[in-house]
Symmetry: C2
């Protein structure tokens, strides 16, 4: 089982020749999730060899164009390529209106079921769960209602120590409980302890996504101890005024959130088009928090 | 004075790695016109070094996404880059609703005046004229209302034969009329003939754009004798059934329109993603009409 994120677009509002507007593809335990969908995302998905028909959750943080102007085109292409499997889009309420209007005027009837879950940028709640993953949303602080996202693996089962279990000649029916960490009392009164017959479960991993937002320490609680935190860093600290005016974050501030939340690794993106590269963002953030990468389009990070 | 068209996107509904969805930039006598604006057009404009702030007319043929999904992003970028000069968009009525809704939900107030002229896909009429150019629309035949466009230079003035004019010692006040081809009677009763003192005007050139449409011979009258005709050729003749079902044209049919309309040159585009290149389109069309090019993204053609 893998858990990884591929950066499809690492730029901010103005696309540049090497930074597309924001989009990320998350693969987690055979679940396929797209986060944000700036203009050109469908081309980026093809370029980086993502099987687009496998995507069945699309999370849209907010309705600034650099985070969703590619969605209508992606949906059209999924349809033209013969999709019949349903798709759920989580995003602001008006997104549904915009998408349905664009499909309607084009006379398109999608060959698949399109379901919208409305987010309001104010709630911390579970959006989806199955046996393998959970998807959460939490509020960010931007000029318009904006949602952060957290994707985490479900707690994993302990691994059976098969050799010891066989030696003891125990019934196979005990295995599910032991793997869940439960101790079992046999009819004879003998206690069978999970810890003796299983190895510890691998830790569940988690990934949090924060774009776009002003520096807001309330975020720390939502992303505490995640393995990887993506946080926007539109500006450097010398443009702090501009960051505050536009409700964006500097590299130093993003690193402060990472440090306070004690995350494993910090990814920085959403760089303003004024910066030629991410070198200064890296330096500024690294002075505060040691495990930092400034992302580039096409990179894949293991969570 | 130049008159040229740059192909920004030569593909059909599904973008491929080398064919963006439809868009063209037309430069005509210092006028800057964008025709259609598929997803990714703003990046193509930058890639091919078009000064995007000079564009002041945008013509949208119809509301299939591959012809307009890049418009909202382009408008946002024009705004972010500081535009204050007005812009006129000619397209179906619902386009205004879609664009204004997307700007509104993003909380954007454009720094420039955005004017919409509504087209209904049924009229042959003049949309714009000034001293240098005319822009016309005419109906195409597609699954939804679709507009063709014709851009032509205004009739040019005759060029003064300055040497002969000076030798004759005539008043400079005669020049405007002579350049317009008018003969003038002097107070003495002497006739001054325009043809004697001027050279013939250079011919006015014209460019016609037909995408998307089924093969429709009514188009011939609208594009007769244009210097360059762009006509969609989504399919080859062996997919004639598919072309008819989807209201598209084959390369052979597009060449038939070009031949009947006696145009100077035929450009073919809007190739289905199923074709690796335009070689067969070229061969099929060339058998009917001799001056054909299959366009590629980034090419510029002189009109």
């Amino acid at each position: 089982m893998n858990f990884e994120v591929t950066i499809l677009g690492s730029g901010a509002a103005l696309p540049t020749s090497n930074r597309n507007p924001t989009s990320q593809y998350v693969y987690c335990n055979d679940r396929h999730i797209l986060i944000d969908c700036g203009e050109g995302t469908q081309v980026q998905l093809r370029k980086y060899h993502v099987h687009i028909q496998k995507i069945n959750h699309i999370l849209i943080s907010h309705l600034h164009g650099d985070h969703f102007f590619g969605l209508a085109g992606l949906l059209s292409s999924l349809h033209l390529l013969g999709r019949d499997k349903g798709l759920t889009i989580y995003g602001p309420q008006e997104l549904e209106q915009i998408i349905r209007l664009q499909l309607e005027v084009g006379g398109a009837k999608l060959g698949f079921d399109l379901r919208f879950v409305h987010l309001n940028g104010k709630e911390h709640r579970l959006l989806f769960e199955d046996k393998m993953i959970e998807i959460w949303t939490f509020p960010l602080s931007h000029r318009i209602p904006t949602n952060g996202f957290l994707i985490k693996e479900k707690p994993k089962e302990r691994k059976l120590n098969a050799e010891r279990f066989e030696e003891a000649g125990l019934s196979l029916t005990l295995i599910p409980k032991l793997k869940q960490g439960l101790d079992v009392e046999l009819e004879s009164g003998e206690m069978i302890y999970s810890e003796e017959y299983t190895y510890p479960a691998k830790p569940s991993k988690s990934y949090a996504y924060c774009s776009d937002t002003i520096f807001d320490e309330r975020i720390v609680d939502y992303v505490r101890h995640v393995n990887v935190l993506y946080h926007e860093a539109t500006f450097l600290q010398d443009k702090l005024d501009r960051a505050q005016q536009t409700f964006h974050t500097t590299a130093q501030q993003a690193a402060t959130i990472a440090k306070q939340a004690e995350v494993g690794k910090l990814l920085l993106g959403h760089l303003s088009a004024r910066y030629e590269n991410g070198l200064k963002h890296f330096e500024e953030a690294s002075a505060v928090f040691e495990n930092v990468s400034v992302v580039e389009d096409g990179e894949t990070y293991l969570i």
